[in-house]
C-alpha cells in the first residue's frame, strides 16, 4: 500500500450525504448541535429546509426521527457515537429498533481516536450497544470510499442502520470501483497462516501488519469487516478453516464488539484460536489519537506480534 491521502470518514459522510440529498427529496437530516463537527452541516448548508437541529437533546432527536420515519421520510440522524448509542440507547431501541423504522443513525467521533477530549467522549461501546438491538444493521467503514458507498447502501436498504464514522484522517486505500456491500466482508490480502479480521480505521494497520509478517515468511489473510452486524459468518468460517488462527482488530472495547461477534461464530461452529485486539475494558484519557492508538496496542506492530504468538498456539 503506497502512501495515500488521508480523509476522516466524518468528512466522507458529509460529502456523501449531500450527494444523496440531491437525489432523494425524502431525506431529512437531524443533528443535536454538532452539525459542524459531524459534518451534517454540509447538508444543512445545501438543504437548510431539510435540516433540523434538535438542540442538545439526543433522546428526543431519536424519538422525533422515529416520528419522521413513520411519516414516510428518511431521517439521517447525526451526533457523536457516545450520545447516539449511549445517551439515546433506549430511544433507539424502543422508538426505532422495535418498530423497525427506517432511520439511519450516523455517529461520528467514535472510538479512542477522538483523542484529546478524553474518556467522556471516546465511545468504545457503540458496537456492543447497537449490535444488541434486534434488526439493527451496524456498519463501520474503513476509509473515504467505503464510508460513501456504505452510506448509500444504508439509504438503499429498508430499516434501521447504525453507522460509525471517525474524526481522525485515515488513508484512502479503496478504488472508487471497489465493490463494497452491506453484510459482505472484503478480503484485502490472502494468506493461510493467520487471518486478521479488522474493522474501521484499523484496517490499514492490519494490512501493514500483514506486510511485516510477510517479511518473516508468515502469510496473513486480511479481512475488512465493515459490517459488524449482520456478520459475514461464511467469511469467518472460511478463515477459521483455511488459516486456523484469527486475530480481530477493532477500535472498541473487546467486550461486545467485533471480536466477540467473531468468537461467537467460531465457538458455536468451528472452534479456533483467537486473539482479540481492542480497548481492553478500560477508559481512555486525553492524548493525541496516535498516542492513544499506540497505548492501546492498536498498531501494525502490535497486531503482528500478537499474530505471531497466536500462530504458535495453533495445533
Amino acid at each position: 500500500m503506497a502512501e495515500q491521502k488521508k480523509i476522516a470518514t466524518r468528512d466522507s459522510f458529509g460529502r456523501a450525504l449531500v450527494e444523496l440529498g440531491r437525489e432523494h427529496q425524502e431525506i431529512v437530516v437531524m443533528d443535536a448541535d454538532l452539525a459542524g463537527a459531524t459534518r451534517s452541516g454540509m447538508f444543512k448548508k445545501e438543504f437548510p429546509e431539510r435540516f433540523f437541529d434538535c438542540g442538545i437533546a439526543e433522546g428526543n432527536m431519536m424519538s422525533a426521527a422515529a416520528g419522521m420515519a413513520a411519516m414516510g421520510l428518511v431521517p439521517v440522524v447525526s451526533t457523536f457515537a457516545m450520545f447516539a448509542a449511549g445517551r439515546a440507547f433506549e430511544q433507539v431501541r424502543n422508538g426505532i429498533g422495535y418498530p423497525h423504522l427506517n432511520v439511519k443513525i450516523c455517529a461520528t467521533h467514535a472510538g479512542i481516536s477522538v483523542g484529546a477530549d478524553g474518556a467522556t467522549h471516546q465511545c468504545c461501546e457503540d458496537f456492543a450497544l447497537m449490535r444488541s438491538i434486534p434488526g439493527m444493521t451496524v456498519l463501520c467503514p474503513s476509509d473515504d470510499v467505503e464510508a460513501r458507498k456504505l452510506l448509500r447502501a444504508a439509504y438503499e436498504m429498508e430499516g434501521p442502520v447504525y453507522m460509525r464514522f471517525g474524526r481522525l484522517g485515515v488513508p484512502v486505500f479503496h478504488d472508487e470501483t471497489a465493490e463494497l456491500a452491506i453484510g459482505k466482508a472484503e478480503v484485502l490480502r490472502d494468506g493461510r497462516d493467520v487471518a486478521l479480521i479488522a474493522t474501521g480505521i484499523l484496517v490499514p494497520e492490519a494490512v501493514k501488519a500483514a506486510e511485516k509478517l510477510a517479511a518473516q515468511g508468515i502469510e496473513a489473510r486480511v479481512i475488512n469487516m465493515a459490517t459488524i452486524k449482520p456478520l459475514d459468518e461464511e467469511c469467518v468460517r472460511q478463515a477459521a478453516k483455511e488459516c486456523g488462527a484469527i486475530v480481530t482488530v477493532e477500535e472498541h472495547n473487546i467486550i461486545g464488539g467485533l471480536g466477540e461477534a467473531v468468537c461467537a461464530v467460531l465457538a458455536e461452529q468451528c472452534p479456533t484460536p483467537v486473539c482479540r485486539i481492542g480497548v481492553r475494558d478500560c477508559f481512555g484519557h486525553s492524548a493525541s489519537a496516535e498516542e492513544l492508538l499506540a497505548e492501546h496496542g492498536l498498531t501494525a506492530e502490535n497486531i503482528a506480534v500478537k499474530a505471531q504468538r497466536l500462530i504458535a498456539r495453533k495445533g
Binding site: 431529512v28 431539510r50 424519538s63 422525533a64 416520528g67 430511544q91 422508538g95 422495535y98
Partner: protein
C-alpha cells in the same frame, strides 16, 4: 362522525371492555385506561380524520399513546371504530394476539406509533408533526401523556422542539389523574403546575374536565383556533384514575392490577348503573 349524545354510552362500553380485557389477561393497567377513556372516545369519534378500513392511509391524522400502558382503552376504541373485530379484545396480552401489552404499530391496525416507554411518545409525535409540515400536509398529530410521565426529561425536550418548530398541528393532551404507581404524583415527584410549565415552554394551554365531553370539546376547539398561530396546544384534562368503577377510583393500587372475578362483577355493576343513569337522562 358520531353524534355527541352517543359518546357517553360508548364510553361506558369501552370501560366495560377495559375491565373484561384486563380480567381476561390477568394483568394490565385498568386505572389509567379508565381515566383516559373519554378523551380517546372523543378523539376517534369526533376529532381525527381517519379511515378504519384503510388504517395506513397516508394523509390521516396521527395519534401517539405516549402513556402506552393504558392501551386497553385505545384497543377498545379502535375496535368499536371498526379497525379490527371486537372479539379480538379479549386476546389482550396473549401469546398469539395482535394486542400487545403496549402499542405496537406493526401488529395492530390503527396504531400509528409503537410506544410505552414513557416520555418517548411525545418525542415521536413532535417528529410526526414536523414531518407533516415538511411534507406540506395538513395532518394533525395528537399525543396523550400522563402527569406522572411529565417527570421524564424527554417530555420537556419534545416541548422545546414543538415550540421551536412552531408545531401548531400538534395537540398534546395530559391525563392529569394525579396518581402514579407509587402513589400521588404530588408526593412521588410533583410535576405541577403543568399549565405554567407548558406555557413557559411556548404552548397554549387549556384546562378542562377530562370526563365532561363539553369540556373536552372546548379543549379541541382551542386546538383548532390555534391552527396557523405557530403555537402548539396542550389540553390539561383533570381526570379520575379508575373513573366509573367505585373501588378503583382515585386508588393508585389499581394502576397496574387486573380485577379478579368478583371485582369484575362489581365493576360491571357500577358501569351498568352509569348506563342506566344515562338512559334515564
Amino acid at each position: 362522525m358520531m353524534e355527541i349524545q352517543n359518546l357517553p354510552e360508548l364510553a361506558v362500553t369501552v370501560r366495560e371492555d377495559i375491565l373484561r380485557m384486563t380480567h381476561a389477561a390477568g394483568n394490565g393497567h385498568p386505572g389509567g385506561s379508565l381515566s383516559a377513556t373519554d378523551y380517546l372516545v372523543w378523539l376517534y369519534n369526533r376529532e381525527m380524520n381517519v379511515r378504519p378500513d384503510e388504517p395506513n392511509w397516508e394523509d390521516r391524522d396521527r395519534f401517539v399513546l405516549s402513556k402506552g400502558h393504558v392501551v386497553p382503552a385505545l384497543y377498545a376504541v379502535l375496535a368499536h371504530k371498526g379497525y379490527f373485530p371486537l372479539e379480538d379484545l379479549l386476546t389482550l396480552r396473549k401469546p398469539t394476539s395482535h394486542l400487545q401489552g403496549h402499542p405496537n404499530m406493526n401488529d395492530t391496525p390503527g396504531i400509528d406509533m409503537s410506544s410505552g416507554s414513557l416520555g418517548q411518545g411525545i418525542g415521536a409525535a413532535v417528529g410526526m408533526a414536523k414531518g407533516a409540515k415538511v411534507l406540506g400536509k395538513d395532518i394533525h398529530v395528537h399525543v396523550l401523556i400522563g402527569d406522572g410521565e411529565c417527570a421524564e426529561g424527554e417530555v420537556w425536550e419534545a416541548a422545546l422542539y414543538a415550540a421551536h418548530y412552531k408545531l401548531d398541528n400538534l395537540c398534546v393532551a395530559v391525563d392529569v389523574n394525579g396518581l402514579q404507581i407509587d402513589g400521588p404524583t404530588a408526593e412521588v415527584m410533583n410535576t405541577a403546575p403543568l399549565d405554567a410549565k407548558f406555557a413557559a415552554f411556548g404552548f397554549d394551554t387549556i384546562t378542562v374536565d377530562g370526563h365532561d365531553f363539553e369540556g373536552i370539546a372546548k379543549g379541541f376547539a382551542r386546538f383548532h383556533a390555534n391552527q396557523g398561530s405557530g403555537r402548539p396546544t396542550v389540553i390539561l384534562m383533570k381526570t379520575v384514575k379508575g373513573k366509573g368503577v367505585s373501588f378503583m377510583e382515585n386508588n393508585a393500587g389499581w394502576h397496574g392490577k387486573a380485577p379478579n372475578d368478583a371485582e369484575l362483577e362489581q365493576g360491571l355493576k357500577d358501569l351498568a348503573a352509569i348506563r342506566q343513569q344515562l338512559k334515564e337522562g
